[in-house]
Amino acid sequence: MDKDETLDSRGLMCPMPIVKLAKKMKELQVGKVVELIADDPGSKEDVPAWTQRTGNELVEMRQDGKIFYFYIKKKQA
């Protein structure tokens, strides 16, 4: 999956991955993709909820053992 930036939130638990993701997305231009790496088991539900609520696009999500990879595209605010 193509990405413009990576945000590694491994070791952080709720709500920090979401708080950091929101901050990162604010800095990003529309159309750019962030790869979020997380090992908080809650992030599997939290990240899709965040993209749904904020109108950003969750392009892809995959799991490798206990680690989640999310690819989030910034949409027009």
């Binding site: 952080l12 638990m13 920090m16 929101a22 909820a49 609520r53």
Partner: protein
């Protein structure tokens, strides 16, 4: 033209000043603000102390002695202590209010409050809360 998206609004009342209630209120508030929601927190009774500059909440009752351990464990997973959470909340635009009656009862002055905290009474907060989509009571 697309219809303007409605901003979801959240009202939180905090009536206790212990570490758990303090952290709960701000973890909800900071997450909501990160989801683009508008957040209003009313601090009343023992919750008032949380919006003073010297706020340093301790775990409740017997757990008071374990406050340091809780803080350490939370910090290990990236969740900073109460003063840092509060700073983050104010940066994210979370609106904080102090109950004027509680200020009188507890001897808290305007200059004791964190910058940005608005002093008001129940009627003014209810007026704000009446237009919110979600309401939480933490006490």
């Amino acid at each position: 033209m697309p219809e303007a998206k409605k901003v979801t609004k959240v009202a939180i009342v905090v009536s206790e000043g212990t570490f758990d209630k303090a952290m709960e209120s701000l973890m909800i508030a900071n997450t909501a603000a990160s989801m683009g929601m508008e957040v209003h927190i009313f601090h009343t009774f023992f919750g008032l102390k949380l919006v003073t500059k010297t706020a340093n909440p301790k775990a409740p009752g017997m757990y008071r002695l374990f406050t340091g351990m809780f803080k350490k464990k939370m910090l290990a997973v990236g969740v900073e202590g109460y003063p840092a959470q509060k700073k983050m909340a104010l940066e994210l635009g979370v609106k904080m209010y102090a109950c004027s009656t509680s200020m009188g009862v507890m001897g808290v002055k305007q200059e004791d409050l964190d910058p940005g905290v608005i002093v008001l009474g129940a009627a003014a907060f209810l007026n704000i809360a009446a237009d919110t989509d979600m309401q939480y009571f933490i006490g």
